[in-house]
Symmetry: C2
Subunit: 346 residues, 2 copies
DNA sequence: TTGAAAGCGCTAACAG
DNA sequence: CTGTTAGCGCTTTCAA
């Protein structure tokens, strides 16, 4: 039961010395190698359990050139959206005996690049990434692709021909919103979009436009606003809409920051939601119900996004040559007070 | 410029072969060892940069018995409170060249124990932990303490004689709230607490009681409610308060879940905040301003809590024998509409 | 059925 | 100034 002082972990060597066999015998016994006699095997396994032996992942990593670590890069850590996705990734990773190393890009390209560098330094086996808001060039990812580092994107994606990815059906989601407005009697439907280079922004714009069309509504360019996804900018965009000679009677915001900013601005002008102007956002459950009025919104299957991303990652590792697939998940429109004039709660 | 195929990282060996010197020369050159001639050093460093050499942390870890990884265990990942603390930890860790491995206990003892096991298996150098809500026995930590694994607690803490910790001044915070209510004309002040075994719950109760006393108010046991920190239970607790023959004119909730649940229940009964009943919570900035009315609340210096915890951790590593200290950070009462009858916005 | 030895990438003591 | 060697913990030939 001895362990050299200062050492915090028992090694094969310790076990071997204790029992009086060679290190390789211990190794084989613990791996249930058939060569070792049952009695010896049992004795070694028992001692190992007693002494709390756990294999040293550093040694294994060095030997096998595999750290069983995945790097995950998200734009931020403090929103429910990403942390919930991370939980999904973690769950699948744990099942596979992998650990994840989390880094945040803080929505900047510079920190995204830095995060990749750092994670690669730690010898993660690959990366699961959501692009930062700023990211418009992709050389840092091309480098990874060239070195065949396993890579998966989610939500904000690029290079989808070469990299597996998981996204939600943004076109469909934006269509759902537009149609929902229409069904509830709203006709001047505005949309506050994000930066053009983000796939999610483009796709939601497409859904908005096709939604209008399928409802037989005309598109008025002044009802399509843009912002940089900050609260401040979103408030300004909302202001421009409300200042229009013919302001909209319904607005939908590209994400929760934008939706809440819009809500603030609308209220601050003394307008009522949804009587004067209806509002819908892309948000998560919790925030939507905590505000007043409760916000109708598209909710993302965040946990599943994470799970899918992790599954794609392991597919990649197990089958590096397979063609990259894109998994498209469905969103759900959850109707609450903010978009229905005569709301019957149940 | 050759690199064996299949290898994703350049090693000292690769560099040595490329230049035609020994591995140790390369090692020394990269460590700026004075023994190596300037020219050789320069040449090696140049090549290393060109070939994107980065030292293999597995090899270093094995050699130095130090992984430069810290395990962080939080009750959950998806609230701003913990993710913001994690950001604080991360910042300090990064400065020291450490990485953090994050695990969530999901507020259960079982997952907390499992998380410790898993993290120890990965050979983290130590742990920074916030206890799960369930945790009432501490043997799993005693084991770490006995093996002198560096350990730091934050927010929900135990064994503070042996383990450094960082907390906020909960007594003071609860006093501030009580006094704030008093100053604004409220006299029947209720408090919805959490489970007794949590230090934060106890401390806030103490602050509530001493706050009442210093305002010259009597304590009415029926105004001290308890819940298990779930929304459902908090709604029930609020209900009980509102059903009282003489209901309170002010409530404060032990955390944001409770405060928002209380808000919902109060509104659902057609009562106005703060006209009929005032409300204060412990929350973060973002949530407090998004609800209506904006919620007066105690905000925690979350990022700093993380920073302090990390600093304590490194103190521990650098000076294992020092007496464990407890860092107590101050909270801030941010007054908003929910607790002031005649609110002048500025 | 078991042991010895090599090697994963790196540093440091010891030799030249 | 530079090379050789041993060893961190582990698996895996190769020998016995």
């Amino acid at each position: 039961m001895t362990m050299e002082k200062g050492k915090r972990h028992v090694s094969l060597k310790d076990l071997a010395k204790e029992i009086g066999v060679s290190i390789s015998t211990v190794s084989r016994a613990l791996n249930n190698h058939p060569d070792i006699s049952p009695e010896v095997t049992l004795k070694i396994q028992k001692l190992a359990a007693e002494m709390n032996y756990t294999p040293n992942p550093l040694a294994m990593g060095l030997l096998k050139q595999a750290t069983r670590m995945i790097g995950v890069i998200v734009p931020d850590l403090v929103t429910h959206f990403y942390s919930s996705i991370i939980s999904g990734i973690e769950q699948i990773a744990e099942e596979k005996g992998y650990y994840i190393l989390i880094a945040s890009s803080n929505e900047t390209l510079q920190k995204e690049i830095k995060a990749i560098e750092n994670l690669m330094k730690t010898r993660v086996e690959g990366l699961i990434v959501c692009l930062s808001q700023e990211t418009q060039s992709y050389e840092h990812f091309d480098r990874l692709i060239k070195n065949s580092i396993p890579l998966v994107f989610f939500d904000r994606v690029c290079r989808t021909d070469e990299v597996p990815s998981v996204v939600v059906d943004n076109v469909d989601a934006a269509q759902k919103i537009t149609k929902h407005f229409y069904k509830n009697g709203f006709r001047r439907i505005a949309y506050i979009a994000g930066p053009d280079h983000l796939n999610i922004s483009q796709e939601r714009t497409r859904g908005y436009l096709s939604g209008l069309k399928s409802c037989g509504l005309d598109f008025y360019p002044e009802l399509l606003e843009k912002c940089n996804l900050s609260t401040k900018d979103a408030i300004k965009a909302t202001g421009r809409l409300l200042n229009l000679p013919k302001p909209p009677d319904a607005i939908f915001g590209i994400n929760d920051t934008v939706a809440f900013a819009a809500m603030k601005e609308i209220k601050s002008r003394g307008l009522r939601i949804p009587e004067d102007i209806a509002l819908v956002g892309f948000t998560d459950e919790f925030h939507s119900t905590v505000v007043d009025p409760a916000l109708t919104s598209i909710t993302h299957p965040t946990f599943e996004i994470g799970q899918e991303a992790a599954r794609l990652f392991f597919n990649r590792i197990e089958n590096p040559e397979a063609n990259p697939v894109q998994v498209i998940l469905n969103t759900k429109l959850v109707v609450r007070k903010s978009s229905v004039k005569f709301y019957l709660s149940h």
